[in-house]
Amino acid sequence: MAGNRGAAVPRVATPVIVFLVVIALVFAAFSLLHGQFLSARNLTNLLRHASIFSIFALGVLFVVVVGHFDLSFYLVCGLAGMTTSWLIAVEVPAPWSVGVGLVVGALFGIANGVAIGRWKLPDMVTTIGTGAVAWGFAWIYSKGSYIWQNARTSGILLLNDGTILRLPVPVVFMLGTYLLALLAVHRSRFGRGFYATGENRVAAVFSGVHVEAFIVAAFTICAVLTSMGAILSNASQGAGSVRVGMVFLLPAYATVFLGSAVFRKATVHGTLVASLFISLMLNGFTLMAVPYYYSDLIVGIVLIVALALSSDTLSRLRESLRRAGRRREEGRETEPVAGPLAGTGGQP
C-alpha cells in the first residue's frame, strides 16, 4: 500500500509544484518591476481583493463540479448587492440588509437549479436569461447609478475595513467559506453526490443519488457565495453598483479550470490556489497601469489553456498518439511475416 502511494504522488504533485513555482516567479517579477508592489498597503489590498475574488471562484466551482455552467452569477450578485445597498439607504439595519440581499441571490440560484436540474433546460442559455432578469431588477433600484446613502453610518463598511483577530473581514470570510467548502466537498457525503452528479448523472441516479437536489444546491450555493462576494466588494468601494460582478465572470471561470488543470480535477484547494494566482496577476497589472483589455486578453488565454489541459479530449489525444506509436513499432516486427498468420504475431 505504502509503495503504491509513493508511486501515485508524482503524477498529481508535479504540476502542483510547477504551479507553485510559477506563482512565486510571478510574485518576484512584480516585486522587481514595481516598487510599490511589496508595500504593506498594496499587500493588504491584494489580500482583500484575493479574498473577495476567491469567494466568487468558489461559488462557480460548485456549478462546474455538477457538470454545468452559470452565466448569470455576475448579474445576479449585482442585484443582491443593490438590494443590500438600497435597504441600507432606506435605513434598514445592516445585518438585515445583507441577509435579504443574500436571500434574493439564493432565490435566483434556486430558480436556475430547478430550471436546469429538474426541467432539464440548457444551462448556458437559461442562465443568460435569468441573469438578464436580475440585471433588469437591479436597475429598478438605482437607475444604473451608485447607491451610497447611509453606507458610512450604517456600519456596512466594516465588512471591508473591520478586522477579526487582526485579520481583515474579507479574509475571515474567505477562510470561513473555504473551510466549510473543503469539508462539504471533500470530507462529506454531499461532496460524493456533487461529483457523481457531474461525472455521470445516469449512474448517480441508479445509485440513488438525488441529482436534482444536488444541481439545485450547486446553483444556489453559487448564487449565495457570489452575492456575498458582491456585498463585500461594494463595501470596499463604499457604494453599491449594478456592475459589481462584471469583472469577475471571466477570471472566476479561468480560476476554476486552472485549478482543475493543475490538480487534475475541479477541487476546493485547487480553486483557492488558482484564485490567488489570478488575483496576483490582476493586482500586478493594475499597479503597472496595464489597460484592462490586456489583462482580459491574458486571463482569456489562461482560461483556454486551462480548459484544454483539463479536458478529456487532450488526454485522449495523447493516449491515441501513444497507441499509434506502439502499433507502428509492432507493425515493423510483424510485417515480414506475410500470409494468414501475420496478425497473430501481435497478440499477447
Binding site: R189, Y195, A196, G208, K265, A342
Partner: protein, 501 residues
C-alpha cells in the same frame, strides 16, 4: 445462383480474454438471403464488423467476386459495395426520409457550396422507390416514422450507392404483421436486383420466411451451414446447434431449499413494453428472466427498480404493496440493480473504487453532519471489495483503469455495500471474459443465500445455468414460468425466440 459473391476463409479475431472468432468460413452466393444465427456472444456481430471493416481481423482471407481483398474501414467497405444497416440506424430525426438517404451526397460531389436541389433528391428517391417498391413516406421527418420505416430509410440510404452485399443486423425487434410484410417484400425485391443479403436474427420463424440458407455460429465457430428449405431445418435442431454441449462446470450448484417470498409482482405492465407479468421471488433462490431485445425484459428490470413507474399492476415487498418512485426509493427499501450498461449506468469511471462502492449507501460511511468517516469507509469498502474478488483489491484505483470483469465486480460490491435484500442483475456478464463470468455467477449464488436474486438476461444459457426458476418473456408476455429442473435449455431458447416450442 451458385456463384459466390463473397467468401470468408478462416477468419479469426481475438479480444482481451475472448476468442471472438476462431477460424470462421462463410460463403455468400449471388442474390441469396443468408441468415446468420447464434446466441449472444457467438460472434455474429464481430464477423459482420470484420466484413464491414470496423474491426481488423487477426487471421483469414476475404474474397469478393473470387478476388482477395483488404477492407480498411467502413468507407472502404461501402466503396466495394458492402453496406451494413445496424439495429439502431444513425439518422437525423428532423430530416425527411430522402434527406437522410442522400445525407452527405446531396450534390453529387459538386463541391461543398453547390446548391442542394431538393427536387432532384426527391426524383432520385422516387427512382429508388420504383426499383424497390415499398409503402413508406419519404417526405416526412424520420423521427415521426415507426422503427421499421426508419430501418427501410436506412436500407434505402445504403441502396443510394451501388451495393452488392447488404448486411441487416437484427432488422426486426418487434414487428407487426404489416411491418413484417413490408420488410420481407423489400428483401425480395433486393434479391431480384441481384443483391446478396446477410440477415442476422434470433427469430426462427422470420428466417424460415425470408432466408435461402442459414449459418449457425457458436463460440466463434461456424457449426453448420444449411439450406432453409430442407429437412434439416427444424427449430429444435437449430436450437441444439446454437447451444451446443452444455457447460455445467461454469455454474455453481442450485439452491437446495426455498425461503419465503420477498419480492412479488402481480399483473405488472408497462404500456407497449410488457403486460400482465407476475412472479414470486423467494429468499434463497435465483429467479431467471430470459428475454431478447424487445421482449420487455430490460424494461421489467427498470420498473422493478423504480426507474419507471408501471402502468398496471403492483409490486409487493414482503407481502406489502410498494410504490417505488425512484431508484433512490428502491435502494432505501433494500433493493439494488446491477445495470446492463455498467459504464453508463453503474459506475463513475473517473473516481476510485472506494467512491463507487460507497456511493449507493453513503449513510454507512458518514457520521456527524454527513462528514465521511474515512477509516471506517476504507475498512468496510476493502472488506467488500476483497469478498467479491476484485484484483488487485486497491480501493484507490480509478474504476476506468479496471477490466470489464473487475468493473462488474465493483458494481456488485456497491450493491453488497447497501446490504440489499433483493438483487436485480441485468445482463451481468455482457463484455466479461469467461473466467470472470464464473466468478460473477458464484457471487450471485452466494448473495442468494441471504437475499433474493433476479437475473434478467438475453443469454439463455446463463439463465438456464444460474437460475432456480425460469421465466421467459416474448413480445412482452410471460410465455414460460417453471422451475429450472422441469425445463430445458432448448425450451427456454425456443420460447424466447418464437414464443413457443
Amino acid at each position: 445462383m451458385g456463384e459466390l459473391k463473397l467468401e470468408m476463409r478462416g477468419i479469426s479475431k481475438r479480444f482481451p480474454g475472448v476468442q471472438a472468432l476462431d477460424g470462421v468460413d462463410f460463403a455468400l452466393r449471388k442474390g441469396e438471403v443468408h441468415a446468420l444465427l447464434g446466441v449472444n456472444g457467438a460472434g455474429k456481430s464481430t464477423l459482420i464488423k470484420v466484413l464491414s471493416g470496423a474491426y481488423p481481423r487477426d487471421a483469414g482471407t476475404l474474397l469478393l467476386d473470387g478476388q482477395p481483398v483488404e477492407i480498411n474501414g467502413q468507407q472502404d467497405a461501402l466503396a466495394r459495395g458492402i453496406a451494413t444497416v445496424y439495429q439502431e440506424p444513425q439518422m437525423i430525426p428532423s430530416f425527411t426520409g430522402y434527406e437522410n438517404i442522400f445525407l452527405g451526397a446531396e450534390n453529387d460531389g459538386k463541391g461543398t457550396f453547390a446548391r442542394i436541389r431538393r427536387s432532384k433528391l426527391r426524383e432520385k428517391a422516387a427512382r429508388l422507390l420504383e426499383l424497390f417498391p415499398v409503402d413508406v413516406d419519404l417526405s416526412v421527418p424520420v423521427g415521426k416514422l415507426g422503427t421499421v420505416d426508419q430501418e427501410i430509410v436506412a436500407v434505402f440510404r445504403a441502396l443510394s450507392r451501388k451495393i452488392s452485399v447488404l448486411v441487416l443486423d437484427e432488422p426486426t425487434s418487434i414487428l407487426t404483421e404489416r411491418e413484417k410484410l413490408v420488410l420481407f417484400r423489400l428483401v425480395a425485391s433486393l434479391k431480384e436486383q441481384g443483391i446478396s443479403i446477410i440477415y442476422i436474427s434470433h427469430r426462427l420463424e422470420e428466417i424460415q420466411q425470408v432466408a435461402d440458407r442459414l449459418t449457425v455460429l457458436r463460440n466463434g465457430r461456424n457449426v453448420a451451414t444449411l439450406e432453409v428449405r430442407g429437412a434439416a431445418m427444424s427449430p429444435l435442431k437449430i436450437a441444439e446447434l446454437m447451444l451446443g454441449e452444455r457447460m455445467e462446470t461454469v455454474y455453481p450448484p442450485r439452491a437446495s431449499e426455498r425461503g419465503d417470498p420477498v419480492l412479488s409482482a402481480r399483473g405488472l405492465g408497462l404500456d407497449g413494453k410488457f403486460h400482465d407479468v407476475g412472479f414470486e421471488a423467494r429468499r434463497g433462490e435465483i429467479l431467471g428472466v430470459f428475454g431478447l431485445v424487445g421482449s420487455g425484459a430490460e424494461e421489467l428490470a427498470k420498473v422493478l427498480f423504480g426507474l419507471q413507474p408501471p402502468t398496471r399492476g403492483s409490486i409487493e415487498l414482503d407481502g406489502r404493496t410498494v410504490r417505488l418512485r425512484s431508484a433512490r426509493d428502491a435502494i432505501a427499501r433494500g433493493m439494488f440493480l446491477v445495470p446492463a450498461d455498467r459504464r453508463r449506468e453503474g459506475l463513475v469511471p473517473a473516481e476510485p473504487i472506494r467512491f463507487n462502492v460507497s456511493l449507493a449507501n453513503l449513510n454507512r460511511v458518514s457520521g456527524f453532519l454527513g462528514l465521511t468517516r474515512s477509516g471506517r469507509e476504507r475498512l468496510d469498502v476493502s472488506e467488500v471489495v476483497a469478498s467479491v474478488g476484485v484484483t488487485p483489491p486497491d480501493i484507490r484505483a480509478d474504476v476506468a483503469t479496471l477490466s470489464g470483469g473487475n468493473q462488474q465486480k465493483v458494481v456488485v460490491a456497491k450493491g453488497i455495500f447497501t446490504r440489499a435484500r433483493v438483487y436485480l442483475f441485468a445482463e451481468p456478464t455482457a463484455g466479461v471474459d469467461v473466467g470472470a463470468k464464473a466468478g460473477i455467477y458464484r457471487l450471485m449464488r452466494e448473495l442468494a443465500r441471504e437475499a433474493t436474486v433476479i437475473l434478467v438476461s438475453s443469454d439463455s444459457q446463463e439463465v438456464y445455468g444460474v437460475s432456480d426458476r425460469v421465466m421467459v418473456l416474448f413480445k412482452g408476455q410471460a410465455v414460460l414460468d417453471r422451475p429450472t429442473e422441469s425445463t430445458s435449455q432448448e425450451e427456454i431458447l425456443l420460447c424466447g425466440v418464437q414464443g413457443r416450442v
